[in-house]
Each structure stands twice: as structure tokens, then as C-alpha cells.
């Protein structure tokens, strides 16, 4: 399964980047989301995956004894997911606003702030 996930992660990164390189703002956002998903999966996989053993302590037990999934990456991903949600919401609204103001989706037209003489 790891091999499949590795391919998946590579693909998520690749597609995220490909989308970020488009000129369309919406694609840019989608690219960022894909990239974020890729990073989350990467943390997940690199924390090493274990099937069907969530880090929950049995009601009768006091600690996890047998093999269990590493809870740390899970906590990290949770945090990362929530943070990306905040950032993505903001980014989506930013794009909406940009579209309203500039009336274009073409990022190539948003270059006045880089011009030397302004």
C-alpha cells in the first residue's frame, strides 16, 4: 500500500504544482488545495501507517500496549488541515474579490504592482 500512497503523494504534489502554474486564479487555489492534501498525506505516510489500530485506549485498559498507529502525525495533520481550511477560505475570498475588482481571471493581467514606473 505504501507504494500506492507514494505514487498518490507524488501525483498530488505534481498536480498541485501544475495547477499553480496556470494563469487562472481558480486553478491556483485548487492547486494550493491539492498541494496541501499532498503534504498531509505525506505526513501521514511518513509517520508510518498501521491498519485498523487507531490510537484509542480500550475502555478497560490504561495505555496502548499492542501495535497502534502513531498518534503524533495524526495530531499534526489535524492541525494542518484546520489551518489550511482557514487559509483556503481566505484565499478563495481573495480571488473572488480580485475578480470583482480586476474583472479578469488571468493572473498575467495582475502585474501592475510589479511595474517599475507607477
Amino acid at each position: 500500500m505504501e507504494l500506492l500512497l507514494v505514487i498518490l503523494i507524488g501525483l498530488l504534489y505534481a498536480s498541485g504544482i501544475f495547477m499553480m502554474l496556470r494563469r487562472s486564479m481558480v486553478k491556483l487555489i485548487i492547486g494550493l488545495i491539492l498541494l496541501g492534501n499532498g503534504a498531509n498525506m505525506l505526513i501521514f505516510l511518513l509517520g508510518r501507517i498501521v491498519k485498523g489500530k487507531p490510537p484509542l485506549i480500550e475502555s478497560s485498559a490504561k495505555m496502548l500496549t499492542e501495535i497502534y498507529a502513531d498518534p503524533v502525525p495524526q495530531a499534526l495533520i489535524l492541525t494542518a488541515i484546520v489551518i489550511s481550511f482557514g487559509l483556503q477560505s481566505f484565499a478563495i475570498i481573495l480571488v473572488k474579490r480580485a475578480y470583482k475588482i480586476t474583472d479578469t481571471d488571468d493572473l498575467d493581467e495582475l502585474n501592475t504592482t510589479d511595474e517599475i514606473y507607477e
Binding site: 495547477m19 499553480m20 491498519k51 484546520v82
Partner: protein, 768 residues
């Protein structure tokens, strides 16, 4: 001592506060600052004359060996007296010259600051401190040159001067640092103690190169000389003070100061001789075609500076003595001529020598001063200038194989300088007074007394060199050569070759004055040569540089986000790829992998297809929907691999994201394909390459053993110590609760951001 040096800065700081008083009558009090400093330094003359050297150390930045340590010996004494002495006169002169000027206070402020910097420069023993004061002179001169800042030319000149001297300053800084590092100390005295160490050091070449660059730019040596004529846009007192008597000599000072330490080598001497000789001849020839008094003086100053560099370069005891004397000679007559130019300009409103004439009839004392200065300049006996010129020829004649060539150059230079001196100091005052100048009258004594004093000194020192021989020139000589040979200054050496050369110079110079009349036409002809002048080349270089800047900036900061992204990612990819290729062995341990099941394969398959679908979909909504599928599939993977909390959260958040998209999708632009196919293919290749790198990296990491200390601790303590059974949640609210509080803060900020982005509409009055 420190008070003496800093007093100028203190005054400069106080002047803006006292501006009302200064703009009134108060400014007459200011010259007493340099005057008292002059007296203060002069009081040390006897001690210096006895060969004593005085040290004053004040701690400043001891941890880097930078202290306010001052060293008073002959050389610094000579400069200190010039700075304060001419300073006094210039301060007085300014009182009338800029009387009633709205920014008189500022002018005095800068002048005081400059004086203090200059004093600090010549008195510093610590070479870093020396550099600090060096830079301060550059910056105060920037303000002084740009004093008439309404005039674009004035601003341009200030900028040019600062650019050149500032650049030189940076080289000097590097040189000083190298020197200090190589010699193990920033104290000049300590460095001097291990002089040979430095001359043998591997960086010696770099050090002297950097010192030269600093000195040459400051002292307007060829090919860095061109800022100086422009700097004459400054008010005349500034030209007098900075650009003839003191600041430009800072470079000379440095060369002189470092001669005992760095000098004596072929590199040192040859460079200085060549640069000095070229400068003196080049500038001298340039000076004779000018018509503007200030321009004439500017070029003759450059030439004189060239002579000084040349003399230091010769490096013999004779030449160093000549240099020491010529510093004083030149300061006296050149300052005089500048002050006179100022008077002429001030009273007649022109400095064109072809127009001026007969002014002796209306301003006799000025004419006397001018005459004295011109004669000293000409090296006519019994003026101090004669002694100076004598010493120069003495030095060149005794310089081995190259004696004739060098002497010839010196003679040529001196002839031109003589001519220039006559043009500026003689021509305006003789002949008939043009009618338009008949109303011209003698200015306030504070203006004509200073040049007269200086000019008179040129005569007095010539007649009685003994006045300064022991207490001033002897110590200067000692500092320059680092030995105590006793010297004698004499006006009369008897009839010898040197005297003959002096006379030859005089004769030829006067002859030239007779024959060559400066005119617009002649000046115009010389301008043709400007095409090849260093200034033109420098400007060309500047233009090239600015073109390069435009290219570079336009290339990188091109305004296209995707180019930025591709640059960043390309950079990352190359580095990653290189590092992976270089140091990572590709290896997968299949035994460690978990088994594959059909449902997982299907989920992954769906994900892969969805990703491709998202990327290539032509509809925004479909892309969003398939993004949802990707998210939900991730959920399932989380679930299969024991992360129920993750699955829950991912699912809820994905749903919310979809809702968000759907809500705003109206206000989102339609999906369009902008880029060309070729670009898409290129991006695709880069993306896939990057993805592959990440994948390989992941595989490699998976093959490494993982330290499980942390996760074991959590598993064991979650319930016992933190009283929770869902370890992930315990981590979130307890073990790593700090992350969580930050992350909810992120959410809060994002919400506020969304709120303000959508709700805040500035009215036009509120925009800015």
C-alpha cells in the same frame, strides 16, 4: 582631545536648535570654534617639535578593537592646523559670503560637522575610526555640495561626488578591515610596529589596491577625478575648504600616513608614480583651456593632488619632504585663490576670466592677495611656493633611471599650473576695468582679510622657512619616513640645476600666458576629447549598469506569478534533484510494506482519476466536485489506516470547502485555458519531475528506521497522566495544546479577514 574633535559635531547638532540666533548676528561667534581649536592644536607644536607623539585613547567598541584613539604627530599636526586654520578663515569668510542666506544655520552646521570629521580623520590612530571619519567627510561634503539644492546641477554633482567618494570609501573600508585582520590590530601604531608582517602578507596586494582606490577617489586622481570640477557647484567657502585645502587631501593624508607601513614596495611606488604623474599632467593640461575661474582652479587642484601622489610614490626622503611641504604650499595659495574667486563672483556675478579684468582698481587688497598667491603658485622666489617647487625638482632629479622623464613631467605640469594660477590670480585684476564692473566695490573685511592672511603666509614662510621648519615640517618628515633625519628648508640653495629648472618653468609659464588666450572656441575644441574622458566612460558604464539592472529586474520580477512560481519550484527541483542524485541510494524494502487490498486499490484508483479529472476538467464546478471526491477518498484512507479523528475532520472540512466554493463560485471567474500547449507541456514535465522527486524522497524515508520515543510516551501517558483515552485528542488539547490554540487563532484571523475583505468598502475619502 576628544572634546576638541567632537566639538564640531556638538556644534553641528546644536546649530539647528539655535538657528534663530545664527541667522541673526550670532554667526560671527562661530568662527571662534575653529579658531580656538587652532590655538589648541598650535599649543602642542613645541611638544611635537621635540619629536614627541601624543596618544589619546577613549574606549568605544573595545570588543571589536575599535576605539576612539587619537594620535598626534607631525603629519596629523600639519593637517589639524590646516583644517582648523583655514577653517577659521572660511568660517569668517562665510559670515559675509552667505550673509542673510535663509539656510545659513544649516551651512554652518555642515561645515562644523565636516571640520570635526576631518579632524577625526587626521587624528585617528585606529584605522576603523579613521574610516568612520573618512565617510563622515564624504557625507558632509555631499550636503555641502548640494547646499544650493534648488539647482539640479548642484544635486547632480553632489550625487556624483558622493557616488565616487562613497564607492572609494567602501573600498577603503575593505582595505582597512583586511589590513587590520592581516596585521592583527586596528591600531595604526601597533600595525606600524609589525610593518614587515603586512608587506609579506598574502593579501598585501589587495590591501594596497583597496587603499589606493579609497585614496584616489577621494583625492580625485585620474581616472576618478571627474567628480571634483562638478563639486565646485558648492558655495565658494566649501570649494575652498573641502575641495582644495582639506578633504581632497584626505586621500593624500592616507597615502602619506600609510607610506611607512605599506610603502617602499615596487607595487606601491610604481602605482602611485604612474597615477600621480598621469593625473598631474592630464589635469594641468586641462586647466589651461578653461575660462571659469573655479574650473581652472578645480583642474589645477587635481593636478596638484597628482603631484602629491606622485611625490609620495617616489618614496624617497627628498620626495616625501617635498610632499610634506607642498601640502602646505598648495593649501595656502589655492585656498587664497578660491576665496578670491568667491569674492570676484560675489561682487561681479561672473567668474569668466575672458570677461574679467582691471579689478585691482576697485578691490586692491584682494588684488594683492591674488597676486601673492599667484606668485607662490608660480614658484617664484622668495615665496614658499619656490621652496616647494625646488624640493619637487630635487626629488625627481634624484630618482634614478627615470629622473629625466619624471622631471619633464613635473616641469610640464608646473608650467601649466603657473599659467592657470596667472589666469585666476592675475588676469582678472590687471588691464582695464570693464564698464559693467565700475560699480563693484570691496566686500566686508571678513571676506578679504582671510585670503590676504593666507597669501601673506605664503610669502612669510618663503622668507622665513625656519618658522615652521623645526616644529612643523621636521615632525611631518619624521612621520612620513619614520626616521628622525634632520631636515632644513632653505630658500636659496645656490645656482644649481634645480634653480635652472625653476627659472625655466617660470619663463615658459609666463610665455604661455602671453601667447595663449582662453576662449570659447578653444574650449570647444578641447571638449571633443571629452568623448574619451574617464567621465564619459564612467557615464557610459553607469548607463550600461542601469541597463543591466533593468534587464535583471525585468527578467526576474516580471510581474507574472506563474513565472515566479516556476522559478521557485525550478530552483527547488534542481537543488533537490541534485542532492538526491548526489547522496541518496535508491532502495525499497518490500518486506516492510503493508499488504494491498482490493478496496484500497480502488480508493487510490479513484483518487488518481479524480486528480487527473480535477486538473483537466473544463468546468469549475466539476473540478470542485472532484476535489471533493479526492478529499473524501483521503478520508477513507485515513479511516483504513487508523485515523478516525482525521477522517472526521477531513470530511467535515472538505464538505465546508465545497460549500464555500459553491457559494462563491458565481463570483469566481469562469474556467479558461490561457496558456499555450507548449507551456502546458513544459509545466507538466516540471510538475511531474517534482512529484517524482517527492515520491522518491518519500520511499527513501520510509526505508529508514523511525524513532518512536515520543509516540510511545504518548501511548503510555495519555490516560495515566492526561486522563484521556483518545490519544490524538489528548495530544491536541494537552500534550500539544499550544498548537491548537494557535490554530484556532489562525481560524479567527481568517474569519476576520474574510469578513473585512467582503464587508469593508472604503469610501473614496478614506482611501490612501
Amino acid at each position: 582631545m576628544i572634546i576638541a574633535i567632537l566639538s564640531g559635531f556638538i556644534a553641528a547638532a546644536l546649530i539647528p536648535l539655535l538657528s534663530k540666533i545664527i541667522k541673526g548676528k550670532g554667526s560671527i561667534l562661530l568662527p571662534f570654534l575653529p579658531l580656538s581649536l587652532f590655538v589648541y592644536f598650535a599649543s602642542y607644536l613645541p611638544k611635537i617639535g621635540k619629536g614627541e607623539k601624543l596618544n589619546f585613547v577613549y574606549e568605544w567598541v573595545p570588543s571589536f578593537g575599535i576605539n576612539l584613539s587619537f594620535h598626534l604627530d607631525g603629519l596629523s599636526m600639519l593637517f589639524a592646523l590646516l583644517i582648523t586654520g583655514i577653517g577659521t578663515l572660511v568660517f569668517f569668510y562665510t559670515y559675509s559670503y552667505l550673509k542673510g542666506h535663509v539656510y545659513l544655520d544649516r551651512f554652518y552646521g555642515y561645515l562644523s560637522m565636516f571640520m570635526a570629521s576631518m579632524l577625526g580623520l587626521v587624528l585617528s590612530d585606529n584605522i576603523i575610526t579613521l574610516f568612520i571619519f573618512w565617510e563622515l567627510t564624504s557625507i558632509s561634503s555631499f550636503f555641502l555640495i548640494g547646499f544650493n539644492n534648488d539647482d539640479p546641477k548642484s544635486r547632480k554633482s553632489a550625487l556624483l561626488a558622493l557616488s565616487i567618494t562613497g564607492m572609494g570609501g567602501l573600498f577603503l573600508l575593505a582595505g582597512m578591515l583586511l589590513l587590520g585582520t592581516a596585521g592583527g590590530s586596528y591600531s595604526f601604531q601597533e600595525l606600524l610596529a609589525n610593518g614587515s608582517l603586512i608587506q609579506e602578507h598574502a593579501s598585501y596586494g589587495w590591501i594596497i589596491l583597496l587603499v589606493f582606490l579609497g585614496a584616489f577617489t577621494k583625492s580625485a586622481q585620474f581616472p576618478f577625478h571627474f567628480w571634483l570640477p562638478g563639486a565646485m557647484k558648492a558655495p565658494t567657502p566649501v570649494s575652498t575648504y573641502l575641495h582644495s585645502a582639506t578633504m581632497v587631501k584626505a586621500g593624500i593624508y592616507i597615502l602619506a600616513r600609510f607610506t611607512p607601513l605599506l610603502g617602499g614596495t615596487t607595487e606601491w611606488n610604481t602605482t602611485l608614480i604612474i597615477v600621480g604623474a598621469v593625473t598631474m599632467v592630464y589635469a594641468a593640461i586641462h586647466s589651461i583651456f578653461r575660462m571659469d575661474m573655479k574650473s581652472i582652479l578645480a583642474y589645477s587642484t587635481i593636478s596638484a593632488l597628482g603631484i602629491l601622489v606622485f611625490l609620495i610614490g617616489l618614496g624617497t626622503e627628498e620626495s616625501l619632504l617635498a610632499a610634506g611641504v607642498f601640502i602646505l604650499v598648495h593649501a595656502l595659495y589655492k585656498a587664497t585663490l578660491f576665496l578670491i574667486t568667491g569674492i570676484v563672483d560675489h561682487e561681479t556675478s561672473t567668474r569668466d576670466v575672458t570677461v574679467l579684468g582691471g579689478l585691482r582698481k576697485v578691490m586692491m587688497p584682494v588684488a594683492i592677495a591674488a597676486g601673492l598667491a599667484a606668485l607662490s603658485n608660480a614658484g617664484a622666489p622668495p615665496f614658499f611656493g619656490f621652496i616647494g617647487k625646488d624640493l619637487i625638482y630635487e626629488a625627481t632629479l634624484h630618482f634614478g633611471d627615470w629622473a629625466y622623464l619624471l622631471t619633464g613631467a613635473a616641469i610640464l605640469t608646473n608650467i601649466c599650473l603657473l599659467f592657470a594660477g596667472l589666469l585666476a590670480g592675475y588676469k582678472p585684476f590687471v588691464g582695464n576695468l570693464p564698464a559693467e564692473f565700475s560699480k563693484v566695490h570691496l566686500p566686508h573685511p571678513t571676506m578679504w582679510v582671510p585670503p590676504l592672511i593666507l597669501a601673506a603666509l605664503g610669502l612669510i614662510f618663503g622668507l622665513f622657512p625656519v618658522l615652521i621648519e623645526k616644529n612643523l615640517i621636521q615632525p611631518v618628515f619624521s612621520s612620513l619616513t619614520n626616521n628622525d633625519t634632520v631636515i632644513h628648508l632653505k630658500l636659496w640653495h645656490g645656482f644649481n640645476v634645480v634653480l635652472g629648472l625653476s627659472m625655466l618653468t617660470l619663463t615658459l609659464g609666463v610665455l604661455l600666458y602671453w601667447k595663449l588666450k582662453p576662449s570659447e572656441a578653444l574650449f570647444g575644441k578641447t571638449l571633443k576629447f571629452e568623448l574619451f574622458s574617464p567621465q564619459t566612460i564612467a557615464l557610459l558604464f553607469g548607463r550600461l549598469f542601469s541597463g543591466f539592472a533593468k534587464f535583471w529586474t525585468g527578467f526576474f520580477q516580471n510581474g507574472y506569478l506563474r513565472n515566479y512560481v516556476i522559478t521557485i519550484l525550478g530552483f527547488l527541483t534542481i537543488l533537490l534533484g541534485y542532492r538526491l542524485y548526489q547522496g541518496v541510494n535508491f532502495y525499497v524494502d518490500t518486506a516492510k510494506l503493508t499488504e494491498l487490498t482490493i478496496y484500497e486499490v480502488i480508493v487510490v484508483l479513484i483518487m488518481i482519476v479524480s486528480i487527473i479529472f480535477t486538473v483537466f476538467s473544463r468546468s469549475r464546478l466539476v473540478a470542485v466536485a472532484s476535489l471533493g471526491v479526492i478529499g473524501y477518498s483521503i478520508c477513507l484512507i485515513f479511516l483504513f489506516y487508523s485515523a478516525p479523528d482525521l477522517a472526521m475532520t477531513q470530511f467535515s472540512i472538505d464538505t465546508l470547502t465545497v460549500i464555500l466554493f459553491v457559494l462563491v463560485i458565481y463570483n469566481l471567474p469562469k474556467y479558461k485555458t490561457f496558456s499555450k500547449r507548449r507551456i502546458r507541456v513544459r509545466d507538466g514535465i516540471l510538475s511531474l519531475f517534482f512529484g517524482t522527486l517527492i515520491a522518491i524522497l518519500t520511499l527513501e524515508v520510509l526505508a529508514e528506521p523511525l524513532n518512536r520515543e515520543t509516540s510511545i510516551f504518548y501511548a503510555e501517558s495519555a490516560y495515566i497522566l492526561a486522563k484521556g483515552k483518545n490519544v490524538v485528542n489528548v495530544i491536541l488539547v494537552d500534550f500539544r495544546g499550544l498548537d491548537t490554540i494557535v490554530e484556532i487563532t489562525v481560524l479567527v484571523i481568517a474569519a476576520i479577514g474574510v469578513f473585512s475583505l467582503l464587508k469593508l468598502r472604503l469610501k473614496s475619502i478614506e482611501k490612501e
